[in-house]
Amino acid sequence: MDNNTIISVRDLHVNFYNNDRCNRVIRGVNFDLKKGKILCVVGESGCGKSVTANAIMGLLPDLSRIEQGEIHFYDNDQDIRIDQLPRKGREMRKIRGEGIAMIFQDPMTSLNPVFTVGYQINEALLCHHQAKNKKEATGKSIELLKQMGIPLPEKRVGEYPHQFSGGMSQRAMIAMAMSCHPKVLMLELKNQEGTAILLITHDMGVVAELADEIAVMYMGNIIESGEARAVMKNPSHPYTKALLDSIPVLGRGKDQDLQPIRGSTPDPYNRPKGCQFAPRCDYCTECCTQQMPEEQIVEPGHMCRCFHNLFKQGGDA
């Protein structure tokens, strides 16, 4: 374990128990989040990417729990086991905000419409002892809004969320999340400085643009992960490859050939027995329908869970 690691997730399993059924949403996920790096978790809706983030934040819904595995949070050489903390306890509340901040998908509903934006950032600052009094807090709030590129921060700080556009609300949310200098910032869309960032998205454009590392999730497993360039230029899992072939890329013109992935994601209550992607996979063979492949290292720092390793020496580039 090198000391740049801030969050380490080991063999995480999470089940949801809605509607009297058990849904194994996360089925053994491993990853490390390193200081100053942006890790993009990519996947379609229902693949478990948001659940992973919520598990780290201790924000899982009532009828769900971590079945096995570990989530370590390394805070000043302290090893905190997030999976063992009570979800609504004091330690967890302290970690949320001071240690890990999360920005939600919909900026328009994440800010409380009855308070000014400045008031809400002040609250976060005062609550986590980042400012001694209101005056100091307001000064810091203005500074944060300015850093986020919001014009006229002195005026904006006294305005209500409805006076902000979508993009500005998003930036105000980031300002609020950054207010307590968290070690990890979890974004469900856009991005920021020195902290480690876990970026959850399905937009390959954002991934290509920002990611240092990529983890591709499908139906509760990370099926491929590694350095961004390695994964995007030399995808080794059929799903990653299919995903990259299925999206139009700006600049490739009208005649680019899109290859849609056939079928749709399986019913989570009626999952395939072996590899989750097998029913939609062009490379599927007998063994794929029997068991989920283990993690394989295809090149240093590049992991893939597939029996039919598509990794090519040297890659496309």
Binding site: G205, R229, M232, I247, Q259
Partner: protein, 338 residues
Amino acid sequence: MEEKKKDVLISVRGLKTYYPIRKGVFRRVAGYVRAVDDVSFDVYRGEILGVVGESGCGKTTMGKSILRLIPAHSGQVLYNFPDGEKDILKMEKAEMDEARQKMQIVFQNPYSSLNPAYTIFGTMQEPLIRFGMKNKAQRKEKIAQLLKDVNLPEDCMQRYPNEFSGGQRQRIGIARALSVDPEFVICDEAVSALDVSIQAQVLKLLKELKEKKNLTYMFITHDLSVVEYISDRIIVMYLGHIVEMAPTQELFENTLHPYTEALLSAIPVADIDQRRKRIPLQGDVPSPVNPPSGCPFHPRCPKCTERCKTEVPKPVTLIHNGHEHMVCCHLAQTTKSE
């Protein structure tokens, strides 16, 4: 400039859609949101016309105004019927019935565009009943055929929307739009709410259906890579105005308007070799209630001049490499028109 050989299906002329802002006890009209502010363009038969712009630029309002789902303030939408051009916006009810069968729309949100209280058959038969298909067996047959066209099995009919995935729902939405055999379909962010792998399925399907049924699309989206993939021609909108309009390749290779340039540079591209320098847009989209004087883009434009602040630029159509290229910018007109 006389190159009117193409078959014009719809001519939009001076279309304005304003939303009134009401204030006070007596709900007096205190001002207007100029959602669509004087747009004019032609839609050619058989083409896919892409419309792009940031959220709030008025692209969806424009599409819905053409269909009269949102009442327009003024302007004309001339539709080329077999018996001549008619203004959609001034049609009586009976005429409008005919128009409704010519023009349809596919919506953005696959979760709210199907009624959860009805089976697929219940939802899809409504337009058929409306347009006089009284026989239930006949309706069933027609719906089965429509579902087949969008690659869904016939037995979907008896199921409820909540049993389908987003992509399947969107295909049902497409089948519903096609149920009256329209010639013109507006796709309003039709793939934006779908997962990336499903987007490709639906985009391909839309392309296939266009060929099979001789459709004309107006494809409204904020996603430039999608619009580049699907459109023949692209309209770029900003604050209710058309700022640039050109065939796809021409627009991307010979961008004239600074807004289009900024938009193209701001989009993250799903190609790791294309990490590049951006032209960050200053500030935010101004409010369409109090649009800026002069060119609507001038407060954010990196190339803004004194003239841009006072004088509204007129749309000018240039011919470049044999393509009509419309642009609404003082600078483009002075530098490129010689």
